[in-house]
Amino acid sequence: MVRFQGVAMRYANGPEVLRDVTFHLEAGSYHFLTGPSGAGKSSLLRLMYLSHCASRGTVKVFGHDIETTPRRLLPGLRRRIGVVFQDFRLLDHLSARDNVALSLRIAGIKEDVIRAHVAELLSWVGLGDRLDATPSTLSDGEKQRVAIARAVIGRPSLLIADEPTGSIDEIQGMRILRLFEELNRIGTTVVVATHDQRLIARFNHRVLRLQDGQFTVEGRGP
């Protein structure tokens, strides 16, 4: 599903923020990615959701070596990846409904199908009565759920969440992680970045750890 081999990464001409990262995520697996703030978690995820390119090594997603994949094939690969960004990245001028619908519209899905799917999913995450609200009128927890709905509406085979519990309280955070468990149970490969060790301890998932420039993989997982 995702394979990193001796990967290093740098921003423009800056120093390497990742060095010698090697791991393999099997289809249907669930991993936490952890490490202190500034360790490079977000950077590693950016490589994984095809936002940036590695400066060294190979990144393979769905079997495609990203460095040699033609640009025209990237949209297709990206549609199979759902991303929950650390800062949500919702479109402020669009309603919750249109924010979520965007993922399907760009794929050319018919409007009537979109309407039904979006309403259903937003109800499922508990926002059935906020369909037409714009992000500025939503709480952080609600925005988080809109962002998650946008990430999963296209039934991605890989779900990537960057600090999804960072800006919400513990109870809400647990609800979201249980939602991810459920998606994982139906076959979605999940990667969740968090610096919250207590959260990791509550679940029995494998852990990718970035610490002091060292990358390690821990745990057996279920």
């Binding site: 959701y49 095809l50 936002s51 940036h52 390119c53 640009r71 990237l74 949209p75 297709g76 990206r78 549609r79 990846i81 991303v83 990245r89 479109l91 402020d92 001028h93 669009l94 249109d98 965007l102 993922s103 519209r105 760009i106 794929a107 946008r150 296209g154």
Partner: protein
């Protein structure tokens, strides 16, 4: 049902706000240039139709009016016998006097002043008359006769008409180029303003063409709105000019009232502006996005 908002928040960025006004101004200028060209073309073809297939023979006055009459009679006889000549009409002497009245005074005809005589000719519709040969024959038979085919006057008129039309076309082309350049700059600034959201749309799997679609329909709607305003102003200006110029309109001033072809040309201008905006915006976006990850 209300129109779905654009995926990109164009309403909030200033880059597109000035575009309709600039397009309105450009379409206004293009409308004036097109109408000038069309009016000139109509005037030239009207003059052409009036003068084509006609010629005038001028007989210089002889020493006495009997001599002049004899020359006129000889010329008329020769012309009547010329194949291709349809009608031969001697312009009456008092009409010539009337034509010359501004220069010679009201009593010219009666004063016994020697006046030239004119013979109006028309040719059969498809006759191929060799004017040079006819002129030569005429002069050798009647030395005081001179054939005027209006060709010099018509040639100059045609040349003038063509110059006006070429100038108008050049102006319209320059305006189209300027409009295209304006759309390029507006689109580039829109791309810069919305860069982060475009990046996001790429990340969730959007193709360049989907993003271009957003920009091009926005540019189209701005250009159509501006174009409609510009063409309305242009039609208003020409209408006002037509009203003002009516009292002095003679054979020389082109008719400024809007004919069918002018109306079609005017209606086409906003559509052309829209098409330029759409295509230019699309190409600009696609070229810019190709450089993004």
């Amino acid at each position: 049902m209300a129109r779905r908002p654009y995926d990109l928040p164009f309403a909030q960025d200033g880059s597109g706000r000035f575009l309709p006004w600039i397009i309105a101004l450009m379409v206004y200028l293009a409308a004036l240039a097109s109408i000038a060209a069309l009016a000139t073309r109509e005037a030239v073809s009207r003059w052409n139709a009036g003068l084509e297939g006609t010629a005038t023979v001028e007989i210089a006055p002889a020493l006495d009016s009997a001599g002049t009459d004899a020359a006129v009679a000889a010329a008329v006889a020769l012309l009547r016998a010329t194949p291709g000549v349809a009608t031969v009409a001697v312009v009456p002497a008092d009409e010539i006097a009337r034509l010359l009245e501004p220069w010679l005074g009201p009593d010219a005809a009666r004063s016994g002043l020697p006046l030239p005589r004119l013979i109006d000719l028309t040719f059969a519709p498809r006759a191929r008359v060799d004017f040079a040969a006819l002129g030569g024959t005429l002069v050798s038979a009647v030395p005081s006769a001179r054939l005027d085919t209006h060709s010099q006057w018509l040639d100059r008129l045609q040349a003038l008409g063509q110059s006006v039309q070429i100038a108008a076309l050049a102006i319209v082309l320059l305006i189209a180029i300027a409009a295209g350049a304006t759309v390029v700059f507006a689109t580039r600034s829109g791309l810069a303003v919305h860069r982060e959201l475009i990046e996001l749309m790429h990340l969730i799997g959007s193709r360049d063409s989907y993003i271009a679609q957003q920009f091009q329909s926005h540019a189209l709607s701005l250009a159509l709105r501006g174009g409609a305003l510009g063409v309305a102003l242009g039609a208003g200006t020409v209408g006002a000019l037509a009203v003002v110029s009516r009292p002095i309109q003679g054979a020389l001033l082109p008719d400024l009232s809007l004919g069918a072809s002018s109306i079609v040309a005017l209606a086409a201008l906003p559509l052309i502006a829209g098409a330029i905006a759409l295509v230019t915006a699309r190409i600009t976006v696609l070229r810019a996005l190709r450089k993004m990850p």
